[in-house]
């Protein structure tokens, strides 16, 4: 299968600290990849580089065959706007906008806000009836589903989730993972950064990071699509 993402000999150094140390990784199109590791292992740094939110100190990043590691900040902004959907542990919803407006924000900076499309995105995560509620009126699980709807509204090639179930209870965690399963079935590439084994073990492929290095990279034999 063709690679959507290729990381070649990536290092990221903050001051004297190597957050990533000569890491190489390929992510295939339509693959569901979990990046796991303990706190401080370099997971978030990896996510920032994969999501084009940061540049590596050394090495190359290819997205859909194109080297993006030397691109300007403006080009990278366009890239993660057009091709990457982000899901955060803290949800980061704008608290004065209701659920559908939070989804429309991503449309506004991508192309044109379309409330009908935004409502359809909320329907895909089972939240159409909560469209007019403010974040403060939604549970943690519902807020994370709004965050996922915002990530998928522009039909990105890659969904990048940073500890997506970190602030959720078990019931909501299952709902979110079910949504990921559906997205994967639809052909969306998923990269989930997590330290939670239960979340990591549902992915198609699991990469383990420790001290900024990949210590294991394996296909999940228990993966059920």
């Amino acid at each position: 299968m063709e690679n959507l993402l290729e990381l070649k000999n990536i290092s990221k150094i903050y001051g004297g600290l190597k957050a990533l140390d000569n890491v190489s990784l390929n992510v295939r199109k339509g693959e569901w990849l979990a990046i796991m590791g303990p706190s401080g292992s370099g997971k978030s740094t990896m996510m920032n580089i994969v999501g084009c939110l940061d540049k590596p100190s050394t090495g190359e990043v290819f997205f859909d065959g194109k080297d993006v590691s030397k691109e300007s900040g403006k080009k990278l902004t366009e890239l993660h706007r057009d091709k990457i959907g982000l899901v955060f542990q803290q949800f980061h919803l704008i608290n004065y906008l209701n659920a559908v407006e939070n989804v429309m924000v991503a449309q506004y900076y991508h192309s044109m806000p379309d409330e009908q499309e935004a409502l359809e995105a909320l329907e895909r995560v089972g939240l159409k009836d909560r469209a007019k509620h403010l974040p403060s009126q939604l549970s943690g699980g519902e807020q994370q589903r709004v965050c996922i709807a915002r990530a998928i509204i522009n039909s990105p090639q890659l969904i990048l989730a940073d500890e997506p179930t970190g602030n959720l209870d078990e019931a909501n965690e299952n709902i979110v993972l079910d949504i990921f399963r559906r997205l994967h079935k639809e052909g969306t590439t998923l990269v989930v950064v997590t330290h939670d084994p239960e979340v990591g073990e549902v992915a198609q492929r699991i990469v383990r990071l420790e001290h900024g290095k990949i210590v294991s990279d394996r296909e999940n034999e228990h993966f059920t699509d």
Binding site: N48, L86, Q90, Y108, P113
Partner: protein, 434 residues
């Protein structure tokens, strides 16, 4: 969506934005008050100085030449003095700026003998009813030293009212001379010159605080008889409301013929003391009109210093507003760093986020400026009434200048926040680092 986000910020950060609006309002109010007072202060100081007497003196051409040659204010030798025809005095009220001439009085002075000693005697109008012709019609106007010497303090008796007495043999005497000669109100004195005598009734004793305290003031016709110059006067003192001198007025004062056509029209149609003098000379060709330098200089110096002070206050208030805005906007951006980082993460460009933040701040500043303008109107009136005992006229130009200044101040004050916003990295804010 854009305005929904702006509206959302107004609701969510209303306290912060209210503080910005108040900061702007304070700066705008001080700038509005100071600039309006500054623009109006020239007229106000003119009005103040007008109460200190005449600001233009009109003398015969030859006296003016002698005065300029020898740099003297007065020419004492009657033998060398030319005169202006008394009938020409009314011509003052035919000039373009006639309405700005508030008072005037012709004068002829001489030295007379009183009780075996020489004293100064000034003949003038006290409250003369002047008839004059303008565009074929005859008008009357009361004028004289009653208004021109408004600071005279009549210590005993009353001010001479020409229109209430019969004849002209009346006089007012200065306090020091009255004390020296032991003259009181109601006394009859005899003054002599070249064998001519005049008996005058003292109507009042005045204190002037200047050389007039050693003089006798009487009606013009008495001095004309004593000096054998009936129908003639030595000079005219004129009090006129004038515009503050500027570069054009200074240039014109040197030589009006050096002005271009447009400059000449502007100068002629502005109530500069020099253009009023010029028009008086046009109306009375045998006379020379000039500004009383002391008054004009005082006005210029007071105006210059007042304007400098007000400019400084305006500048400092705007600096204060800039610093206040800078602090408030920067702390606002810091509070919203996650929201703004998220916008970057979903694809907003730096320019779009900057535009969003500046729209919020400028809209807030506009509201603050409107409030500040009206507040400044109040301040200006308080300053006007407490310093000049009259209101300050508000200028539309000031509203425009203040608006431009506040937008400039707002943009300058927002620079640190915008720099912070541009440096904001979603990777650090949204994930909490590595």
């Amino acid at each position: 969506m854009f305005f929904r986000m702006v509206k959302g910020t107004f609701i969510r950060q209303k306290k912060k934005l209210l503080m910005i609006a108040l900061t702007v309002a304070l700066g705008a109010s001080i700038a509005t008050a100071m600039l309006n007072v500054m623009l109006d202060v020239g007229d106000k100081i003119n009005e103040e100085l007008k109460t200190y007497g005449s600001n233009i003196t009109v003398v015969p051409q030859s006296s003016a030449v002698i005065s300029k040659l020898y740099d003297t204010e007065e020419e004492d030798d009657d033998a060398q003095t030319e005169y202006i025809k008394e009938e020409k005095v009314g011509e003052l009220l035919t000039i373009f700026w006639a309405n700005n001439i508030t008072d005037f009085a012709p004068e002829t002075d001489t030295t007379v003998t009183l009780n075996n000693s020489e004293v100064g005697l000034v003949g003038t109008w006290f409250n003369h009813k002047l008839e004059f012709k303008k565009k074929g019609s005859v008008y009357t106007r009361d004028t004289g030293v009653i208004n021109l010497r408004s600071w005279w303090d009549v210590e005993s008796g009353t001010m001479l009212n020409e229109q209430a007495v019969s004849g002209d043999k009346y006089a007012m005497i200065g306090r020091e001379l009255a004390e020296e000669k032991n003259i009181k109100a109601g006394d009859i004195i005899t003054v002599s010159r070249d064998g001519r005598n005049e008996e005058l009734e003292i109507i009042g004793v005045f204190e002037s605080g200047d050389d007039d305290d050693n003089m006798i003031y009487t009606t013009l016709s008495v001095v004309q008889r004593l000096t054998d110059t009936v129908g003639y006067i030595k000079k005219i003192e004129v009090s006129a409301i004038t515009s503050p001198e500027d570069e054009l007025a200074i240039k014109a004062a040197k030589n009006p013929s050096l002005l271009s056509g447009d400059e000449y029209d502007l100068w002629y149609c502005t109530a500069y003391v020099s253009s009023i003098c010029f028009q008086i000379q046009e109306a009375i060709p045998e006379a020379s009109a000039s500004a009383i330098r002391q008054i004009a200089d005082s006005e210029g110096k007071i105006l210059e210093k007042t304007e400098l002070l007000m400019s400084l206050i305006t500048f400092l208030s705007l600096i204060g507003a800039t610093l206040g805005i800078s602090n408030l906007v920067t702390s606002g951006v810091m509070e919203r760093s996650q929201e703004l980082a998220l916008l970057k993460a979903v694809g907003a460009k730096n320019g779009q986020i900057t535009f969003l933040v500046l729209t919020e701040i400028i809209f807030t500043s506009i509201l603050g400026t409107i409030a500040g303008y009206f507040l400044g109107y109040g301040f200006a009136q308080i300053i006007g009434h407490s310093v000049f005992s009259s209101g300050v006229e508000m200028s539309g130009m000031v509203a425009f200048i203040v608006s431009v200044l506040i937008i400039f101040v707002t943009l300058i004050g927002s620079i640190p926040a915008i720099r912070m916003l541009l440096r904001l990295r979603p990777s650090e804010v949204l994930h909490g680092g590595h």
